[in-house]
């Protein structure tokens, strides 16, 4: 198991380095000039100095290694030195956003809790709904429930989040009377502090719509996958053996079949986590959640290169990390994979 994990880890690191290079070079090709937004009255030599201060004077490869060093050494050391007093604060400059002039990662850590709350909860809700649907659909294949499940997941695949989100707002915010229990706010209020039951209720209510939109997507995918995986296992010989030994139907399905069918599903659940962050970009935009997706859009519109580079790199790290987790989980759950 250890060699298997190490081997996976060894492929993940060069992938990440290559991705960081691609992201850096792509943004470096940017024809836009970061000083273009500044007033025209600034004389050219001052403009040149501003460019130098943004670190644009160096050649590409030096800037890339500088950025990489800041990403994987300076920034982690800075956060370590804040939490543990015996580590010295690094004296190298931190990654600074061109737009806000604040350290990039501080801004990202401010935004992260909102994204995690909405996206994380939506994913958990989606998975919890999807698993029973998938199990029942497979056990009662071609029943009314299965047909309905297929149709609902087709809809979940086909309605993009930017339409389902807007539809939810129309149904639950615009058309619903304001005093009804079913009225939900369409704008996420980040300043809300949860210090009482009333505010907790408010928080829950404002999370309902974005969570529903994101959970619909997750449910559609995972329930299909669960169903297919259950169907693969239901006709296997070991199931007939279990039944022949006189086990009750619930033991056969819940203990024997479910355990074996969960192996691929668990890895799909792990693989879906980074994708949901990508989908959250749109959902955050609709419900005005100021998470990292919204931060990315704002930074792209403002041509804030360091912020965009860092955010895209973080998304890439998430993908590679969860791919690694999925691989390792598969190796733990299914020993046959390890000896590949």
């Amino acid at each position: 198991m250890l060699t298997y994990t190490l081997r996976r880890l060894m492929t993940a690191i060069p992938t990440l380095i290559l991705i960081s290079l691609i992201i850096f070079l792509l943004l470096d090709l940017a024809p836009g000039d970061p000083t273009a937004q500044l007033p025209l009255t600034i004389p050219p030599e001052v403009r040149e100095q501003i460019r130098q201060s943004l670190g644009l004077g160096e050649p590409v490869h030096i800037r890339y290694f500088l950025w990489l060093k800041q990403m994987i050494w300076t920034e982690p050391m800075f956060y370590l030195s804040e939490s543990a007093s015996w580590i010295n604060t690094p004296d190298a400059p931190r990654l600074i956003s061109w737009q806000t002039r604040a350290p990039v990662l501080d801004t990202i850590f401010e935004r992260l809790p909102q994204t995690m709350m909405v996206v994380g909860l939506a994913y958990i809700v989606g998975v919890l709904i999807a698993l029973p649907i998938g199990i029942i659909s497979a056990y009662k294949q071609y029943s009314v429930f299965d047909q309905a499940g297929t149709f609902v997941s087709m809809i979940g695949f086909s309605i993009p989040p930017f339409f389902s989100g807007v539809l939810m707002i129309i149904l639950f915010t615009v058309m619903m009377p304001n005093d009804s229990f079913w009225w939900f706010p369409s704008i996420y209020d980040t300043t809300l502090v949860i210090d009482s039951w009333e505010n907790f209720g408010k928080q829950v209510r404002q999370m309902v719509l974005p969570v529903m939109v994101l959970a619909l997507q997750t449910t559609a995918q995972i329930s299909r996958f669960m169903r297919a995986s259950m169907l693969d296992n239901l006709n296997q010989d070991y199931v007939r053996t279990a039944r022949a030994k006189g086990m009750t139907e619930s033991v056969v399905v819940m203990r024997h079949v479910l355990r074996n069918s969960m192996i691929p599903v668990v890895t799909v659940i792990a693989l879906g986590i980074p994708a949901i962050f990508g989908g959250a970009i749109i959902t955050e935009q609709i419900f005005k959640v100021n998470g990292i997706g919204q931060l990315l859009i704002v930074s792209i519109q403002a041509s804030d290169v360091p912020m965009v580079q860092t955010l895209t790199f973080i998304f890439a790290v998430l993908i590679v990390f969860f791919n690694l987790i999925a691989d390792i989980l598969y190796g733990i759950l299914d020993p046959r994979i390890r000896y590949d």
């Binding site: 992201i23 086909s158 339409f163 129309i170 615009v174 989908g279 859009i297």
Partner: protein, 304 residues
Amino acid sequence: MTDHSIDTRDDAPARNQWWDVWDQFKTHKGAVMGAAFFIFIILAVYIGPYIWTIDPTYIDVRARNQGPTWTHPFGTDQLGRDMLARMMAGGQTSISVGLTAMGLALFLGTLVGVLAGYFKRIDGLLMRTTDLFLALPLLPLLLVMVMLFRQPLSASFGPETGIFILIVTAIGITSWMPTARIVRGDVLALKEREFVLAARSIGTRPGKMILRHVLPNVMSPIMVSATLGIATAIITESALSFLGLGFPPDFPTWGRLLFDATDFMQQHPERVMWPGLAISLTVLSVNYMGDGLRDALDPRIRGL
């Protein structure tokens, strides 16, 4: 193979295998309905403007913000432009982007898949590249690409063609990976078959071999990923337009129309429905079509 020869001796002349595929496709009700709806949408957006001749950019301020009437069946927007005409114009762009981007993704995916499967020497390199692309955060990168290359491309090709090229290329080069993987797997299996050995033994060159013997046999997975590719391309384009990073505002696409309509969601919720329904129904019909096509092209199911 054997029942097929008995069939032909019994009654009809020899049948093309695509007729069998069509017979199987017809038994899948959802797929037939999906295909019919997709053809209807294509006809509506490409032929429709010749019948419904109102100019989608014609501004009639007196008739602004109208609900559905006989003169404007879908109503008008905040500048009095006819929504039906705008939906057709927007659909043309959305469907064209979907089809072209799918074509590009399919071409790249098939090329990489066939080369990787057929030539062992470059297999490792090509598949590592595919894995690398799969690990890229696609939506953020798409947004970044649009932000970076929008200006230079619209400067050299004009705002509409420039953005069209940009979006099609961006979607194409970020969505070829699944096709490449499927095609490679099929090519690897095909290479071990006897007919390939026979063809090689009479001295067929690799280029000819790929075109005559390999490609026709991997057509079915390519066609299935083509239908799914249209769906993802339409959704991606609409998502970009919805985030305000797609086509320019005066150039409607379904995503752009939806984005513009969200500002008037309180007063005119019906205006959101038209583009949203058009996107969702098109994608739904294409998905059903792909589902039926997958069954129809699978010989194990077709025999039954």
